[in-house]
Assembly symmetry: C2
Homo-oligomer: 357 residues x 2
Amino acid sequence: MKVRGQDMRVVWWSDDGIHYIDQRALPMRVEIGVARDVEEVARAIEVMAVRGAPLIGVFAAYGFALAARRGAALDAAYARLSGTRPTALNLWSGLDAVRAAAPNPCVMLAAARAYDDAGIAAAEAIGTHGLTLFRHGTRVLTHCNAGWLAVQDWGTALAPVYKAARAGLEPFVYVSETRPRLQGARLTAWELREEGVAHVVIADSAAAHLIQRGQVDLVLTGADRVAANGDAANKIGTYSRALAASAHGVPFYVAAPLSTIDRAITTGAEIPIEERPEDEVLTVEGVDDSGALVRVRVTPAGTKALNPAFDVTPHRLITGIVTEVGIVPASDRGIAEAFRRAADATRPGGRGGATRG
Amino acid sequence: MKVRGQDMRVVWWSDDGIHYIDQRALPMRVEIGVARDVEEVARAIEVMAVRGAPLIGVFAAYGFALAARRGAALDAAYARLSGTRPTALNLWSGLDAVRAAAPNPCVMLAAARAYDDAGIAAAEAIGTHGLTLFRHGTRVLTHCNAGWLAVQDWGTALAPVYKAARAGLEPFVYVSETRPRLQGARLTAWELREEGVAHVVIADSAAAHLIQRGQVDLVLTGADRVAANGDAANKIGTYSRALAASAHGVPFYVAAPLSTIDRAITTGAEIPIEERPEDEVLTVEGVDDSGALVRVRVTPAGTKALNPAFDVTPHRLITGIVTEVGIVPASDRGIAEAFRRAADATRPGGRGGATRG
């Protein structure tokens, strides 16, 4: 994707460390960070300089390869990286892909690159499948940031939007600001602006009203983890959008690569929900009149906050899951079918018949 | 109610003008404004220095009496004040109560005082009736600010909370911050803190999650206008809380005096929804490290926003309406019953039989 007209990735490997666009500085500045050891990789994930479930997986994969390159103890590195955040499954899939290639650092780096490339291909395929949900002028509501800042090069929820824009369908996007961290207002609005896609930012509370008034044709979000039955954990606020979409017959799709689906988890009730620091709710960061990035407190001094970072949308509210192997129902069956298709696609000779999900 | 231990009203008349706590400065500073003519009264409502449907009614009532006192043209004053905001019915009920006493300025002021006193009595009665919804330790979720800053002395949604606290029931309040203007984070949190009621602030998006997780016993909000069938317009975001409460069998009550009920409007679809300036969404106001009140921009430069200020909750999602004459069903019948009770109460000899709503 483009930043001021230049092609750019959000995370990339180089011999002096792993480079990343620091998402805490956006949209005010495009700031490039470099993580030079495992601890710096872990910290960048914890403070959400690098964020978005699939991107965390890619970044952790490179981080684990970096640990090998630096001669660090691999078990300790794995433990440090895997403990950074609790909800996104991709964190472990990224680490595991690289661990399977241990101990040769060059082979591990190749595994990280392959994991990265596969993620990009999956995201683009999600875009292609999701494009079928669009007509000319489709008005889509999204939440948080599931664009190319969260998933290398294409995004998940935004991948179909970018495909639709390139196909000349002129999509329109309602961007919910996504308190407390404002990933919608800061990141999604920035991405859409750089790509020239028409959009408007709304307060999170306005989503249900716009759906009720018939102003939204499609709700499309990403996911941090999907259970085997199709229940989906995503950024806090996703669930209330799904309730509103269901109440008004508006289709609600989750866009997620298979790497986000955790078949070891039966239902969404088992997905751990991260509680983040209360300061994220008590304060807001933005730029003041002088252009400086400042954090302001919006509550009385001493006020306490509660800050659950994700919620779980039950599968019955999800019209379908847009994956890299097609759009499948949010159900045990639909998800089994998706994995069957993926297995078939990787089998020599194409579609086999041996796999029964 | 108390501010730093001192009894205080939020709006009061004096001979040099109408005094008010400027709600834009809270919770950082308790700043007293004075509106000395009709234009200053109108501006204070428009910029939301004075806000909350019932309080707008009281303030406009005093403002109209002030116009008479100053010898201003009454028709022009009525037009100016009634055009300040479009959603709250109380604006007109306050003005009409004073207009009925025209043209004698002293009689008009007495009418404004009577309207104010009646509002305080109604709010306290709402508290008394709403108290029946509380047990020991009830966890209530509210939205925006429907406390004594919005309704003289007691509030509507918060009146039962204050009654419960004084009855030793130790209520706990989830305060949704209420973007874009953050009336929950700034005003409700401040009120509850001053009154010593346990509470925690949450991002608006967290409400449905807490309801889903069984952490909320009761949802209680105010209303800006209620239609004859029980549909209720209130601060944007109320509707999604009602959807979540309904999905999980949590009772959802609207607390509103009869002056908020517009029997001339059949359903909520007819209630005009105010669109407010997009800067409210694009920016956030708070205090920086030095304690100064600053406004920061949270979106990329040039980003557009949409800012509907209210939404309509359909009556079928409302468990009941807490009024000054008791809790009634949110339906044509329930509302007719409430007005019948009110008419009976004002008739000499108590309950009459002639009124059939």
